[in-house]
C-alpha cells in the first residue's frame, strides 16, 4: 500500500515538528519558572511589612524598599502621563490624517526602528537633553520623560494596530450622517480602539518598569532615605509639583545595588525586591489581559 506508507511518512514529520515545538516552548517556560522559584526561595522570607515600609539601611535585616517602590510608582506615573497622550495622538495622526507619501513612510520606518534602539541610548540622549539642556536635573521628571520616550514607539504602534482593526464600513457610516473627521475619531475610532491602546500602554509600562540602564545614566540614586515631597500641601493652591524635582531610586536599581554587595544577607533582599518587581509586572500584564477581554466583549462588528 504505497498511499498508506506515504501518509505514515508524512505524519511522522508532523509528529517530529510538534515535538520540537513543544521542547522550544518548554525551554522558555521552565527557565521562567526556575527563575521565579529561585527568587521566591531566597526572597519570600524577607517579604514582611517592615521590608515595604523601611528605607534602605546598612543592616540587611533592617533595610527596606520604601523609597524604591515609591520611586518606581511615581516615575511610572510621569511616564504614563507623558507617553499616553503623545503616543495616542501620534498614532491617530499617522493612521487618520497623515498623507500617504515618502515623508510619512520615513516617519513610520523611524518609529519601528526606535522601538529597537537599546535603552542605554535613550539614557545618553536624556542626559544631554533633559539633564543638561533643559536643566531638569537628576529628577523624577527626567526619569519619567526618558522612559516615556522609550515606550513611545510601543504606544504609537499599539494605537495604530488598534485603529486598523476598525472596519471601514463603520467610518463610512459615521461620515454618511454628516460627522466631521474629528467627530468620527472622537466618537468612534478612539472608543473602539481604547482596549487595544490600553493593552499597548500597559505592555509599554511593564517594559519601562524593569529598566535600569537609562536611569543610571541620568543619575538615579542607589541609596536614598527620604521620599519625594507630597503633591498635596496645606496652603493654597494645595497642589505642589516639587516632587517632580526630587531625586529617586527605582526597584531594579535597588536590587542591583544589593546584589553587588558582598554580604549574603543583602542578596536575599535583592531577591525579595526582584520578586516585588515581578509581581508588579505580572499584575500589569494581568490588567492588560482583563482590559482587552472587557473591551472585546462590548464591541462586535
Amino acid at each position: 500500500m504505497k498511499i498508506r506508507k506515504d501518509i505514515a511518512q508524512r505524519k511522522r514529520t508532523d509528529k517530529v515538528f510538534s515535538l520540537v515545538g513543544l521542547i522550544a516552548t518548554l525551554v522558555g517556560i521552565v527557565t521562567l519558572l526556575a527563575l521565579m522559584i529561585d527568587l521566591a526561595w531566597d526572597g519570600t522570607a524577607r517579604l514582611n511589612w517592615n521590608f515595604f515600609t523601611a528605607f534602605p539601611s546598612r543592616f540587611p535585616d533592617k533595610a527596606g524598599i520604601l523609597s524604591a517602590w515609591v520611586g518606581t510608582g511615581v516615575v511610572m506615573f510621569v511616564t504614563a502621563l507623558a507617553a499616553v497622550p503623545m503616543g495616542v495622538a501620534a498614532g491617530v495622526y499617522l493612521e487618520e490624517y497623515a498623507p500617504k507619501n515618502v515623508m510619512t513612510t520615513l516617519i513610520e520606518i523611524n518609529i519601528a526602528n526606535l522601538a529597537g534602539v537599546p535603552s542605554i541610548v535613550y539614557g545618553l540622549m536624556a542626559l544631554g537633553l533633559f539633564v543638561y539642556k533643559f536643566q531638569f536635573g537628576m529628577s523624577i521628571l527626567t526619569a519619567g520623560l526618558t522612559l516615556a520616550l522609550l515606550i513611545l514607539p510601543i504606544v504609537i504602534m499599539a494605537t495604530r494596530e488598534a485603529i486598523r482593526t476598525i472596519p471601514g464600513s463603520i467610518r463610512e457610516a459615521a461620515f454618511a450622517v454628516g460627522a466631521t473627521k474629528w467627530q468620527m475619531i472622537r466618537h468612534h475610532i478612539l472608543p473602539y480602539s481604547a482596549g487595544g491602546i490600553l493593552t499597548g500602554v500597559i505592555i509599554g509600562l511593564s517594559r519601562a518598569i524593569g529598566e535600569s540602564a537609562p536611569l543610571i545614566t541620568i543619575g538615579a540614586l542607589t541609596f536614598i532615605a527620604f521620599l519625594p515631597a507630597s503633591p498635596f500641601t496645606g496652603t493654597f493652591p494645595f497642589l505642589s509639583f516639587e516632587w517632580l524635582k526630587s531625586p529617586y531610586t527605582v526597584l531594579p536599581i535597588q536590587a542591583f545595588n544589593w546584589v553587588s554587595r558582598p554580604q549574603k544577607a543583602f542578596h536575599l533582599n535583592a531577591a525579595a525586591a526582584g520578586l516585588t518587581l515581578m509581581a508588579m509586572t505580572l499584575a500589569m500584564n494581568g490588567a492588560a489581559i482583563w482590559i482587552r477581554y472587557r473591551f472585546r466583549k462590548r464591541i462586535k462588528w
Binding site: A173, A174, A176, G178
Partner: protein, 268 residues
C-alpha cells in the same frame, strides 16, 4: 460605446425633479468609471439603478453623498449633480461634503451599526449636529424607529447593543439612522443583498412606504426588486447610463437591446 439615450422630459411624467445629474463623469485615479451620466431623480419616488457588476451603479450612488471624497485620487468631472429646488451643485468645490451628507443620507450594502446601543445608533445623526434638547432627541429617535418599522421590536431594549439584533433588524436600524435627520434623499446601496427573503420583504415594504416622505435612490443587483419597488429605473452598462425610463417600460418594453438582453437574463 453604448448608445446613450437622453432623458426626455416626459419620462418623469409630470413628477417634480429632486436632483439632476448632468453629464457626470467620475475617475478613480486615471480610470474613468462613469461616463457622461445624465439623469433626473424624481421627488418622492423610488429610482432604481440596475446593471451588471462593475457597471458603476454604486459609484454613481456614492457621488450623491460625496463618499468618494473620503479617499484620495477620486475626481468628479462634468456638470455635477444639482439638487432642486435651489439648484446647488452638490459636487461643487464650494459645497462642503458634510453639508451634502446632512441632507442626503445612506444605507449601506451590509448593515453597519455602530458598536453602541440601539438608541445611540439612531441618535448619532442628531448628536453630530449638537444643540438639540434631550427630549427632542428622544422623540426623533422614536419617530425614526417607527418610520423604519422597528419600534415595536426594539422599544424594550433601546439600551442594548445594536449588534444583538438580527441581520434584518440591523439593516432597519441603519435605515432608522439614515431617517432620523429628515434627509431629502436616502441612498440605498444594495440594502438587501445580505438578507434572507423575509427580511428582504420587510425592507422592500419599508422602501415603498418611505417614498411618501422622501426621495429614494436604490442600487440593486436584483431585477425583481427593482421591478417591485421602483417607479423609475436606470440601466447602467460599463460606466454609462444605457437606458433610463419608467420602471414598467424598462421591464416590459425596453428601447435598448442591451437592456432587454440584461433583464431577460442573457448576460450579467
Amino acid at each position: 460605446m453604448v448608445e446613450t439615450l437622453n432623458v426626455s422630459p416626459d419620462v418623469l411624467a409630470g413628477a417634480a425633479v429632486k436632483a439632476r445629474v448632468q453629464d457626470l463623469s467620475f475617475y478613480y485615479g486615471t480610470h474613468r468609471v462613469l461616463k457622461n451620466i445624465t439623469l433626473s431623480v424624481a421627488e418622492k419616488k423610488v429610482t432604481a439603478l440596475i446593471g451588471p457588476s462593475g457597471c458603476g451603479k454604486t459609484t454613481l450612488l456614492r457621488c450623491f453623498n460625496r463618499m468618494h471624497d473620503l479617499y484620495p485620487g477620486n475626481r468628479y468631472d462634468g456638470g455635477g449633480i444639482r439638487l432642486l429646488p435651489e439648484n446647488t451643485n452638490i459636487l461643487g468645490a464650494d459645497v462642503d461634503p458634510i453639508e451634502v451628507r446632512m441632507r442626503i443620507s445612506m444605507v449601506f450594502q451590509k448593515a453597519n451599526p455602530f458598536p453602541k446601543t440601539v438608541f445611540e445608533n439612531v441618535a448619532y445623526g442628531l448628536r453630530v449636529r449638537g444643540d438639540l434638547k434631550k427630549s427632542d432627541i428622544n422623540e426623533r429617535v422614536e419617530q425614526a424607529l417607527r418610520g423604519a418599522a422597528l419600534w415595536d421590536e426594539v422599544k424594550d431594549r433601546l439600551h442594548s447593543l445594536g449588534a444583538n439584533l438580527s441581520g434584518g433588524q440591523q439593516q432597519r436600524l441603519c435605515i432608522a439612522r439614515a431617517l432620523v435627520t429628515d434627509p431629502e434623499i436616502i441612498l440605498f446601496d444594495e440594502p438587501t443583498s445580505a438578507l434572507d427573503p423575509i427580511a428582504t420583504g420587510k425592507v422592500e415594504e419599508l422602501v415603498a412606504e418611505l417614498k411618501t416622505r422622501v426621495t429614494i435612490l436604490i442600487v440593486t443587483h436584483n431585477m425583481q426588486q427593482a421591478a417591485r419597488v421602483s417607479d423609475f429605473t436606470g440601466f447602467m452598462y460599463i460606466g454609462e447610463l444605457a437606458e433610463f425610463d419608467r420602471t414598467e417600460k424598462i421591464f416590459t418594453n425596453p428601447s435598448n437591446k442591451l437592456t432587454e438582453d440584461y433583464i431577460t437574463g442573457r448576460f450579467g
